[in-house]
């Protein structure tokens, strides 16, 4: 384990202290619980949006709390869900009188806890809460049958759900509308990733799996979950082609569509390589007659020091485009 840390038991606490120090003008915590992370900027009548999930994915999840995006985030320990009580405390803090939307990734632990928190918010405070799950990882399972719950994991594509829902809330739409828009974004985003190396949970101290020097794993999850194919490392163009094929076929995205594209680094992969992938994505989209409405490139959802990238496509229409374009100002992500 090669990390710049102190006692692994203090990893979360010290990381959060650093974040609150650096960004004290914009964010704070509820009831002195560092794991209850909220924006300082409230707007009466605005729908509150909260997220939550395990740490180890910065800037996901807390990095999207700020103007034009989210209001709060329950922060779990590395790769672990925060607790229902923490989610509930945040819900009370960010309710600005118009109800609260939960947007989080499709993981058991998070679902169980957000469900408990929803019950608490209903019973104890009469706050209306709705939920939209991020379940964008094409590699993690087949598409779900109509009416069935998706078994797909949520990965980087949740960024687009935050982006659209956050802009809708900032425009003072009501809870029903913000929820509908979030669900629409979730329904129209697909992601696929590739991993080149493992990552180490600080308290575990060693990698939970390994990838050989000449290998890659297509479709690996952001906690190291098994992907769809382990094989010889290929060229950037080949890897991009394989991932794009799976993504494009899934929704499917077709000629004439417009998409917002997120090229996301998993942690150790230089930006250089992410742009080499971007170049190939653009060539593939052009060939298919799909228009790239906007590109986001960089680290948006990481897996500690894992190396690799993921690609997310969001199909946009006239309702989503202005929401994608809406300005954002969080300590970790800004758009003008």
């Amino acid at each position: 384990m090669k990390k710049i840390i102190n006692n692994p038991e203090n990893y979360l606490k010290e990381m959060l202290e650093g974040i609150y120090i650096a960004h004290q003008d914009q964010v704070t915590c509820v009831n002195d619980d560092l794991q209850c992370y909220v924006t300082k900027n409230k707007t009466p009548g605005k729908v509150g949006i909260s997220t939550g999930g395990g740490s180890g994915h910065l800037p996901l999840f807390l990095g999207y709390v700020g103007d034009g995006m989210l209001d709060g985030c329950a922060v779990g320990d590395v790769f672990q869900s925060p607790s229902a009580e923490q989610m509930f405390e945040i819900t009370k803090d960010i309710d600005q009188g118009a109800g609260v939307l939960y947007i989080y990734g499709n993981y058991n632990g998070d679902i169980f806890n957000f469900d408990m928190a929803t019950e608490m918010a209903d019973f104890e405070e009469n706050i209306q809460v709705t939920t939209v799950l991020g379940a964008d990882d094409v590699a993690s399972a087949g598409p779900s049958a109509p009416g069935e719950k998706s078994t797909r994991r949520g990965v980087a594509g949740i960024f687009f759900v935050y982006k659209c829902a956050g802009a809708a809330a900032a425009k003072m739409y009501d809870l029903e509308t913000v929820t509908r828009i979030a669900q629409k974004a979730a329904d129209n985003v697909r992601t696929m990733g590739v991993a080149l190396s493992a990552c180490v949970v600080p308290r575990v101290g060693k990698a939970g799996f390994s990838i050989e020097e000449n290998e890659m794993e297509i479709g690996m999850g952001i906690h190291g979950e098994t992907g769809i194919r382990r094989g010889q490392l290929e060229s950037a163009d080949q890897i991009t082609e394989e991932m794009m094929q799976q993504i494009l076929a899934d929704l499917p995205y077709v000629e004439g569509d417009e998409v917002a594209v997120l090229v996301n680094g998993l942690g150790a992969t230089p930006l250089d390589e992410q742009y080499i992938v971007t170049r190939k994505i653009d060539a593939i989209l052009k060939e298919k007659g799909i228009k790239a409405y906007r590109y986001y490139v960089g680290e948006y959802a990481t897996a500690l020091e894992m190396s690799g990238v993921s690609i997310s496509l969001l199909k946009v229409d006239e309702e989503l485009k202005p929401l994608i374009d809406y300005p954002v100002n969080t300590p970790f992500f800004k758009q003008m």
């Binding site: 925060p82 993981y107 399972a141």
Partner: protein
């Protein structure tokens, strides 16, 4: 004697601690490897929450352990185990002795709490496949001396656990492996085995 429940939770905390690395390794094969940490931290938190209390209501005592566990380790299995303890606590309200009936109620309610939160059925390769056969045995043999009852239940949990190597996972991270998950033993079901081993040890005296 409520002391018996405190002692049981202490033995559980210790056995999870001893099996921490085993659970980590098992979970690393199908999931993210956190299970050893969450089970040892979580049951430790449950025990510490009840250890020095003067609470005389068995139900409130168990419920408090569950709430402490929920806050300490809000992972999948952490929340499920907490939900189990909390349900058992609700159903044991106003009891203050550990009769055979109350022990059976404890595990029966524990299972119900987990099912209510996690919505898994028997045969879907989860914790339920470890606890369910043991609860059946408890119910059918409620008249046996406690030590014998515990040992019978413990054997049933282990058999149930071993059966998970023939099932396809339908829940959690393991589910994404589909058919490939079949030959693997389920780590959550192994937690059920440990809960009943601890039961055996703690009632042996």
């Amino acid at each position: 004697m409520l002391q018996d429940m405190k002692r049981y939770l202490e033995v559980v905390a210790n056995i999870m601690q001893e099996n921490k690395d085993t659970l980590i390794e098992m979970d690393q094969i199908v999931g993210d490897g956190d299970l050893g940490l969450t089970m040892s931290d979580g049951f430790r938190a449950a025990y510490l929450a009840v250890k020095d209390t003067d609470e005389q209501d068995l139900g409130k005592l168990v419920y408090a352990g569950g709430k402490a566990m929920a806050s300490a380790v809000p992972s999948t299995m952490g929340t499920l185990m907490a939900s189990g303890l909390m349900q058992a606590g609700k159903d044991l309200r106003n009891q203050n002795e550990l009769t055979n009936e109350n022990w059976v109620q404890f595990f029966d309610s524990f299972e119900a709490g987990v099912i209510n939160r996690g919505k898994a059925n028997v045969g879907e390769k989860t914790f339920i496949d470890g606890i369910d056969p043991a609860v059946q045995v408890l119910k059918e043999n409620i008249e046996l001396p406690l030590a014998q009852l515990a040992s019978k239940a413990s054997k049933a949990a282990r058999q149930g656990y071993e059966q998970t190597a023939t099932m396809i996972a339908k829940h959690g991270r393991a589910a994404t492996r589909g058919e490939a998950s079949r030959d693997l033993l389920d780590p959550g079901a192994y937690v059920a085995v440990l809960l009943f081993e601890a039961f055996e040890i703690s009632v042996k005296g």
